[in-house]
């Protein structure tokens, strides 16, 4: 698989390590009253879709940036990649 790194162009997926669903960017508020339940869901539960999946890849053998890669889990086709930093900042500004 080749990942279209937004800064470096197409890079072999072997240069990356995989973390999982990009929803892991949305860490719950640890001080909220329901923090225990929210963190149990955050740490352990997954949507695990068959089809498009937005997921976190870390460019460990490269520029050490985190990416949000959009990939089809049925065909392994990669449809795009963004810097996770940009995704997280865009969510925060909403």
């Amino acid at each position: 698989m080749l990942i279209p790194h937004p800064l470096l162009g197409l890079r072999d997926a072997q240069e990356f390590t995989y973390l999982g669903d990009a929803r892991l960017l949305d860490r719950p508020d640890g001080l909220a009253p329901d923090a225990a339940e929210a963190f149990a869901d955050y740490v352990y539960l997954r949507d695990n879709p068959a089809g498009l999946h937005r997921e976190l890849w870390f460019h460990e053998q490269g520029d050490r940036s985190w990416l949000v890669v959009t990939r089809d889990t049925v065909t392994h086709e990669i449809l795009g990649a963004e810097l996770a930093r940009d995704v997280a900042l865009a969510r925060r500004s909403k």
Binding site: L45, N48, H76
Partner: protein, 416 residues
């Protein structure tokens, strides 16, 4: 029809005209007492043990494709009970004991062969860890022997004992472990369940659950609505998709695991050899093919096929361990979808929906568990209480912090 040597002999003399189909191919009834979703190894085993517990109940197995099309037909056929943790080891040893009596029990040749498994040791720390694991196995009633380097060499002399990075210092041996004919296991359970009156309904995809006021009523399927008293879901690999239809998110990711088989060779590998440090394990089938594999690819996948970097990784592990494998030609590569759970251990439990039960999260260790998984799931469906050996496999153990994490990796499904 019972299978026996005499019958094989008689059929050989009469042109093999007396063999019939192993099971019926019925149409679905309007309603059943018990519906098992998933006609794989675990679903068929569940139906088998359930039917033999309650012969009067109406029981059906619904299968999207054909019986045994999933991981029961895709695994590397290893059976063993060499686990460490108290939540796991008694369950897998229970499974091992069921394997030992399985063929007589369901009157089918599953080619269970207790040829032993050796986990290789390369460091003092690993020897300590395996000594501890062996003791845990002995405490649960399993067998375990710690081998030194010379004992391993006497048993499997063709390994590379002096690899600079991973010299072989010994091994943990379980003699009662071995291999079984994976498809035969599915067929044996299917035939046994059918003979006990279970309807095995193929080409019947579940498209939704009918749930009223938190109680299961039945299933929407591609062959119409089927009412159900209790529903057991045993669809490892697809658990996330099926349970999403009941509105539940699962502590599971689906990942692809690849497996490999070489051309047929003369008998050379006496049992199962695992090279955990190098992500490689191998055994030899009765047809002569070297059956081997390694780690999962490491990213979410429903593709039933993997990518070449892992093929290379597994081949490198094989070459490091037993250089002679480089002379063998690869015959087939395939992939299966693994239910990778958040702690690497399975789930056999009730769900928040009354009457809906779950059997899932087998990671890449489901085959060896097939008999005990079926038995324990049938026990749960029948009595609403977990089987003695499966009490730790609760769905809510993650939120409660009672995970069963053999590898100590935490909530990282791709590392278990």
């Amino acid at each position: 029809m019972r299978f026996s040597a005499l019958r094989v002999f008689q059929q050989a003399l009469t042109g093999h005209k007396g063999w019939g189909p192993l099971w019926r191919n019925p149409d679905p009834q309007p309603a059943y007492d018990y519906v098992i979703v998933g006609g794989g190894g675990h679903g068929l085993a569940t139906a088998y043990y359930l039917a033999n517990t309650f012969r009067q109940a109406r029981i059906a197995v619904l299968e999207r494709g054909w019986l045994g099309q999933g991981n029961i037909g895709r695994n590397t056929t290893i059976i063993r009970s060499n686990y460490l943790l108290p939540g796991n080891e008694p369950f897998y040893e229970f499974s091992m004991k069921l394997w030992e009596g399985l063929e007589q029990e369901f009157n089918f040749n599953a080619m269970v062969s207790q040829r032993g498994i050796v986990n290789l040791i390369h460091t003092d720390a690993q020897r300590d860890a395996y000594r501890r694991r062996g003791n845990a196995m002995l405490l649960a009633g399993a067998d375990a022997e710690l081998l030194d380097r010379d004992q391993v060499r006497a048993m499997i002399p063709f390994l590379n004992f002096d690899n600079a990075r991973f010299p072989i210092k010994g091994g943990l041996l379980q003699r009662r472990a071995g291999t079984a004919r994976h498809d035969g296991v599915a067929w044996g359970y299917a035939r046994g369940a059918d003979r006990a009156g279970v309807d095995l309904i193929q080409n019947c995809e579940v498209t939704g659950f009918r749930i009223e006021a938190g109680l299961i009523r039945g299933l929407e399927t591609s062959r119409g609505y089927i009412g159900a008293g209790k529903v057991g879901v045993a669809v490892a690999g697809m658990t996330g998709r099926v349970m999403a239809m009941a509105g539940m998110r699962m502590p599971i990711e689906s990942h692809v695991l690849q497996a490999f088989v070489s051309e047929g060779l003369k008998p050379t590998i006496p049992g199962v050899i695992t090279f955990g440090a190098g992500h490689f394990y191998v055994s030899q089938s009765d047809k002569g093919g070297l059956v081997f594999g390694g780690d999962i690819d490491g990213y979410n996948s429903y593709a039933q096929r993997g990518n070449l970097p892992v093929v290379e990784d597994v081949a490198e592990g094989g070459m490091a361990l037993m250089p002679m494998i480089g002379r063998a030609r690869l015959l087939r590569i395939w992939g299966g979808i693994m239910d990778m759970s958040m702690d690497g251990s399975p789930i056999i439990d009730r769900t928040p929906v009354e009457g809906l039960y779950l059997n899932a999260g087998w990671c890449y260790g489901g085959f060896k568990a097939t008999p005990a998984s079926g038995y324990a799931f049938a026990h749960l469906l029948a009595t609403d209480r977990p089987h003695d050996t499966a009490q730790a496999y609760r769905l809510d153990r993650f939120a409660r912090g009672h995970v069963i994490d053999e590898k100590g990796m935490g909530a990282t499904p791709n590392l278990h």
